[in-house]
Amino acid sequence: MDFFVYQNSYVFVAAFLLLGLLLPITALTVGRWLRPHHPDPLKSTTYESGIEPFHDARVQFNVRYYMFALLFVIFDVETVFLYPWAVAYDELGLFALVEMLIFVVMLLIGLIYAWKKKVLTWT
């Protein structure tokens, strides 16, 4: 019985996925029949507030939040551990709480280190 609920739930998700794809596809197809189409080389220039566009937008530039992205990976993995811990907390009890506390404090030390190293300031 429960296995049926499990299977049916994912059939539901598949139905939603199909509908989510169908709406934009139908809407854009119907739109193609209705909307005007008068191509013009000036129309298809890149918009830069009225100034003639210069350079390509795809240039090398300084992604300032590179270090934030590294921190994100670390803390996202941490949440992966926090979720099952929280679900099973009733069975695990105080011992698991202390263990999780040690794990999180170690990551917090990392966060404080990054903080002191001025990684968290947007320069």
Binding site: M1, F4, V5, Y6, N8, S9, V11, V13, A14, A15, F16, L17, L19, G20, L21, L23, P24, A27, L28, V30, G31, R32, L34, R35, H38, K43, S44, T45, T46, Y47, E48, D56, A57, R58, V63, R64, Y65, F68, L71, F72, F75, D76, T79, L82, Y83, A86, V87, A88, Y89, D90, G93, L94, L97, L101, V104, L108, L111, L120, T121, W122
Partner: protein, 339 residues
């Protein structure tokens, strides 16, 4: 046992799939209706708060057909694609943004009888799928080959990585108290007391991080009008633009429903011990709480100015993250000694 529950327990097959498609289409219509009137409500409320009228011409005194007219106008607009844009990615991006927005609705339970998928990992599913929309936004920014759009897309990614973590961590307290990720179980656990009273800090963090995930003011940096014109969707016109708009408001629907489910007790009556849980009343309680949350989002949008990019990042990492972590352990200790 409700009709949908019986359907879920029947052996899966094509007939089930077709019924689910019909239910999904109904939900699609509901969300489209919500989006239409949420936009109108937002404009009306913003108007009232700024001492002006808001839309009052199309469709009677209250402008009831204003958004419908706007959508029809967008449908008839020419589709302009910049010459230097990456054609395939430019076309895929709005779809990539919209599909996850609709997919997350599949796990939200609205009343005891009216819910769709009953997944054990409902909350995790919501968080995982909703994160995918950012890929669509970054794709749009990159594919447009426009400097404003690229900046907007990059900001969206920066914002997502900073606010996803406090958002995800704030709900750990609720999982601790419920012992389940299933959203139906979470609502059932709030029969006597809504989690907003047990987890007020988590609610605040979730609300702030949720606003950031929605890219709404004060966190609307990816599309900041005054600096990036329209951010990641500058180059989009017509219905492709409409799909970015649509996914933004479908997310507003989804996250307001999620806040109702997680913190406000879903379909249970707001004042426990009054025994106001009659049949059909669940839908009314849910709608009232839901409308309250949507109003709160609109109110916040009218009240706050936009943050600067550096303030945004520092607030996420230096304030929200430590507070969310502390909240988890305070909740665990409370649960250990008082429950």
């Amino acid at each position: 046992m409700s009709w949908i529950d019986q359907l879920l327990q029947s052996p899966p097959g094509w007939s089930n799939f077709l019924t689910f498609m019909a239910l999904g289409s109904m939900m699609l219509t509901i969300t489209l209706g919500f989006v239409t009137y949420a936009i109108l409500a937002e404009r009306k409320i913003m108007g009232a708060m700024q001492l002006r009228h808001g839309p009052n011409q199309v469709g009677g005194r209250f402008g009831l057909l204003q958004t419908v007219a706007d959508i029809l106008k967008l449908l008839l607009k020419e589709d302009i694609r910049p010459a230097h844009a990456d054609r395939a990615l430019f076309i895929i991006a709005p779809i990539l943004t919209y599909v996850p927005a609709f997919l997350v609705i599949a796990v939200l339970p609205f009343t005891e009888a009216f819910h769709f998928a009953d997944i054990g990992i409902g909350l995790l599913y919501y968080i995982a799928i909703s994160g995918l929309s950012t890929i669509g936004i970054v794709t749009a920014g990159w594919a447009s080959n426009n400097k404003y759009a690229l900046m907007g897309g990059m900001r969206a990614a920066a914002q997502m990585i900073s606010y996803e973590i406090p958002l995800v961590m704030s709900v750990v307290g609720i999982i601790l108290f419920t012992g389940s990720l299933n959203l139906i179980d979470i609502v059932n656990a709030q029969e006597s007391l809504a989690f907003i009273f047990l987890q007020p800090i988590a609610f605040l963090i979730f609300f702030i991080a949720g606003t950031a995930e929605l890219n709404r003011t004060p966190f609307d940096l990816p599309e900041a009008e005054s600096e990036l014109v329209a951010g990641y969707h500058v180059e989009y016109s017509g219905f492709r633009f409409a799909f970015f708009m649509l996914s933004e408001y479908v997310y507003l629907f989804a996250i307001s429903a999620l806040i109702t489910i997680l913190f406000l007790g879903g379909w249970h009556d707001p004042i426990p011990y009054l025994e106001l849980d009659g049949p059909g009343l669940g839908a009314i309680w849910f709608s009232l709480k839901f409308i309250g949350v949507v109003f709160l989002f609109i109110w916040v949008r009218v009240s706050f100015p936009r943050l600067r990019a550096d303030q945004l990042m520092e607030f996420g990492w230096k304030v929200l993250l430590p507070v969310a972590l502390a909240n988890i352990f305070v909740s665990a200790v409370i649960k250990e000694f008082f429950f």
